[in-house]
């Protein structure tokens, strides 16, 4: 990775490392109630505490609230010389709370009509009739838990006013989004907001917006005339910095006895929280298989919990778990091979618009050798440990889109700088952009430097979310490099009295087709002496009328200790179709990272609430369990490296999210293969595993009577 040495040395400057002269530290007062009214708030005592410079409350900053709707909602903030002084002063804020009865049950919220938005209904064909005509119907209720992003760098900003210009150093996935949102909120011109993010320590969807910490730092900085840092602690991060919302999914599939799916139906309850949007939990059911009769309704339950935020393929992760488990239950009922069932119901063309490219069938073909391993695997089972394999398919977005801009600057020394005001969220963006520019310009990779991370020093760039960084930015960089190349060749043509069309750049040399000319780039550009060549590029539109989607399949192998409920994931084969692959090392690292995050989601991570008060119980990392290196299975990553011919000058789709989509269902299906137990709830804790095993035992005992 182009910037890996800085990161490995500890030299990369994250927002957490920003220390400005005279900088103050802010701490936030958060609601100790899941639902309450602030009847009175008085910061006078706090203002007199040692080191305190300023305090703000709900009347001063819109992101602070006097009617907190979740445990940990921000209510007031203090700026002091040190963060300890600021935290100590929080205790001196006099607040009169009026606690209100919190609503924590999402089903109850739907019953009461307490929703964040209108229910989303999608229907095609005649679901009821298809269900009535089906040879077999399988129903199931699936539940997924709340999981927390937990990037290693917590959410934070440092704000400084220089006259009427606000500088924001922030850990973000969207420099330009921060710029416009903050400008609008504060009523200043966007050009008077400069946003800087050189390095950031992970986001996974939780850092797309400014957040209360930015607004609070900006206001406290304005009041004190000093730079102010507002950094969430790990505990705050796990209270109020976003989450993947819980879901309840009541699903139905109807099929003919040959395995043809004729009806799919789902009622999805998204436990959105106090605020947020309805993630497409229904998406996989609507799009993954060919089925003429599909009916879904998705509710956004407004409850007294922290607002959801996008988290790596929001909706599809949860929805794929339900749908792909249901498919395997259907396969078991019909005694059909799960892989065959998926092939049989393959969506060759979309129900609405054609795919720009789709190689899922090729993914299935390449999954075969991995899938075949299950026969040998099962023979390893003994009375305690049961072995099995499971698979699940993946569909998700990842096409990116306009607008995005990039410049390439070629100096008289022949060195290239790519400039764009995008952010690198740690996914190897600098490397990928350097590779694209180097390839287009025909120069060695080490000649290219990438400058990003500052809205004052580069053109507009897209958000790093939705697996969109490479597909959105890559084409702009490529176009900028092509523009610079055209100008260089123009100069070479004039200098050497050759036609432009016979010239090219290769390995850092301007060369002619007949081989007579091979002149180092720096000699050609050097003719301009101190002048520079500036190439400009923009991201073009996506193909009209087409859907740009990513696809894949994963095969998981597990071992289950049926006495203690321990689940071990032994091996995961991940085969994904994401168009052209730019940086194979970075791509496989994305796949591995998605799979481990997904294993956490599947086995060990869950945010727990006290059922009476809505207090978040799992605030620290000993209670909220991220996978460690000891939990890593063997991972085999195969990418169908076929450029999408319809998609931009690059043919690349995004890869950040696809790998996390199918893993939970693949593991749950492997558990069924190993033990016969149907998993219906995430995470698969010991308790859930033992429950499922016991239920399977009961079912088996009861089976003869039911025949």
């Amino acid at each position: 990775m182009a910037d890996a040495p800085q990161r490995a040395r500890g030299e990369a400057q994250y927002t957490a490392d920003v220390l400005l002269p005279g900088m103050l530290h802010a701490a936030l007062l958060r609601s100790p109630h899941a639902y309450a009214r602030v009847k009175k708030i008085d910061v006078r005592r706090a203002l007199e505490a040692p080191g305190v410079h300023a305090a703000v409350g709900p009347e001063d900053v819109e992101a602070l609230t006097d009617e907190p709707g979740f445990f940990g909602a921000p209510v007031a903030a203090i700026a002091a010389n040190t963060v300890e002084q600021a935290r100590a002063a929080l205790e001196l804020i006099d607040v009169e709370w009026e606690p209100l009865e919190p609503l924590l049950d999402p089903d109850e919220a739907v019953r009461r009509g307490q929703l964040t938005d209108e229910p989303r209904r999608n229907e095609r064909g005649d679901f009821e009739r298809a269900l009535a005509d089906a040879d077999v119907v399988v129903e199931g209720e699936y539940r997924t838990q709340v999981v927390l992003h937990n990037p290693l760098e917590t959410h934070q900003s440092v704000c400084r006013w220089e006259g009427d210009t606000l500088e924001i150093y922030t850990s973000t996935q969207y420099i330009w989004g921060i710029r416009s949102r903050v400008a609008k909120q504060l009523g200043v011109e966007p050009d008077n907001v400069r946003v800087v993010c050189n390095y950031m320590g992970g986001g996974f969807g939780a850092k797309n917006d400014p957040g209360e910490y930015t607004y609070v730092a900006a206001e406290l900085a304005r009041r004190t005339g000093r730079p102010v840092k507002c950094a969430l602690t790990r505990r705050e991060e796990n209270l109020a910095a976003g989450n993947r919302n819980a879901t309840i999914q009541r699903l139905t599939v109807g099929a003919r006895s040959d395995g043809t799916i004729t009806a799919l139906g789902g009622e999805f309850v998204n436990a959105v929280g106090w605020d947020g949007w309805i993630a497409p939990t229904d998406g996989p059911m609507q799009t993954l298989y060919h089925c003429e009769n599909v009916r879904t309704v998705t509710y956004g339950a407004k409850i007294n919990t922290a607002p959801m935020k996008a988290f790596r393929a929001p909706g599809y992760v949860e929805g794929t778990f339900g749908l792909e488990c249901l498919l395997d239950e259907l396969a078991a009922r019909l005694d059909v091979d799960p892989l065959e069932l998926r092939r049989k119901n393959y969506a060759h063309s979309s129900n609405e618009r054609p795919y720009s490219s789709k190689n899922l069938m090729e993914c299935y073909r390449r999954a075969e050798p991995h899938w075949e391993r299950r026969h040998e695997l099962r023979t390893r089972s003994d009375s305690t440990w049961k072995y099995g394999a499971g698979l699940a398919s993946q569909i998700w977005y990842g096409g990116g889109g306009p607008p995005s801009y990039a410049w390439t600057r070629v100096g008289s020394d022949g060195r290239i700088t790519v400039i764009t005001a995008m952010q690198d969220i740690g996914t190897g963006t600098r490397t990928a952009m350097a590779q694209i520019a180097a390839e287009e310009l025909g120069v060695p990779l080490d000649r290219v430097r990438v400058e990003l991370g500052d809205s004052a020093r580069g053109p507009f760039a897209s958000i790093s979310a939705g697996s969109s960084t490479t597909p959105s930015m890559g084409p702009a960089v490529r176009a900028a490099a092509a523009d610079a190349k055209r100008q260089i060749i123009e100069i070479a043509a004039q200098r050497h009295h050759l036609e432009e069309r016979v010239l090219d750049i290769s390995d850092g040399n301007v060369v002619s087709a007949d081989g007579n000319l091979s002149s180092p780039l720096e000699e050609i550009v050097g003719l301009l002496e101190n002048a520079q060549i500036l190439g400009k590029g923009a991201r073009g539109p996506n193909p009209t009328g087409m859907q740009v989607l990513t696809f894949g399949v994963q095969v998981a192998e597990v071992a289950v200790d049926v006495e203690t409920g321990e689940v071990r994931v032994l091996r995961v084969a991940a085969i994904h179709d994401v168009g052209r692959v730019i940086n194979p090392l970075g791509a496989s690292s994305q796949v591995e990272g998605g799979i481990i995050q997904g294993i956490g989601h599947t086995l060990s991570e869950q945010r727990l609430l006290d059922p009476a008060t809505g207090t978040v119980l799992t605030q620290s990392l000993d209670a909220y369990r991220l996978p460690t290196i000891a939990d890593v299975p063997e991972i085999v990553c195969e990418l169908i490296d076929k450029p999408d011919e319809h998609l931009t000058n690059l043919g690349s789709k995004g890869l950040g999210e696809p790998p996390i989509v199918p893993i939970a269902a693949a593991i749950a299906n492997a558990i069924r293969d190993a033990t016969g137990a149907d998993i219906h709830s995430l995470p698969i804790t010991r308790e859930e595993m033992l429950r499922a095993l016991e239920a399977a035992k009961q079912k088996q005992r009861g089976a003869p009577a039911a025949v």
Partner: protein
């Protein structure tokens, strides 16, 4: 105390953590603060040759001890073989956990120059990474082991 071979002094208040002193008083921000609780390993340093979480050591307790932080691994601006291996293996994504990890790996290889996969799992289980999925970190340790 001695930090990365250089005698250093800092005025600290008694409850202050060594991590805070390193980052905010001694100009060594390489060790990262990600949990303040000893749960993530991002602030791993060597104290008298022992791998510790700097956030759990009081700065005052470090008086008289010998510390090595991520900044002290490489010599004269060059990368330490472990850092080189992390770069080469692609074991770095966002990089926030990386300083702690490279210190932990350097410590592992000092004790066990050719660690098995199980030894790697044991030794690095206290260093949480949310990006890479750890697979490339195994690769990095193997690469570094061949060069040590």
């Amino acid at each position: 105390m001695t930090i990365n071979g250089v005698p250093r002094e800092a005025d600290v208040w008694p409850g202050e953590s060594l991590l805070f002193a390193l980052r905010e008083r001694l100009g060594l921000p390489g060790s990262k603060n990600a949990c303040e609780q000893g749960e993530c390993g991002s602030c791993s340093i060597l104290m008298d040759g022992t791998l510790v979480c700097a956030c759990l050591v009081l700065a005052a307790q470090a008086d008289g001890h010998d510390l090595v932080t991520v900044e002290g691994l490489g010599e004269n601006g060059s990368l330490h073989p472990v850092q080189e291996a992390f770069v080469e293996a692609g074991a770095v994504q966002c990089g926030f956990c990386t300083p702690g990890l490279v210190v932990a790996v350097a410590d592992l290889l000092r004790r066990d120059p050719t660690p098995s996969d199980d030894a790697i799992r044991e030794a690095l289980s206290g260093n949480l990474c949310r990006c890479t999925g750890y697979a490339k970190i195994f690769d990095a340790v193997r690469i570094a082991a061949t060069r040590a």
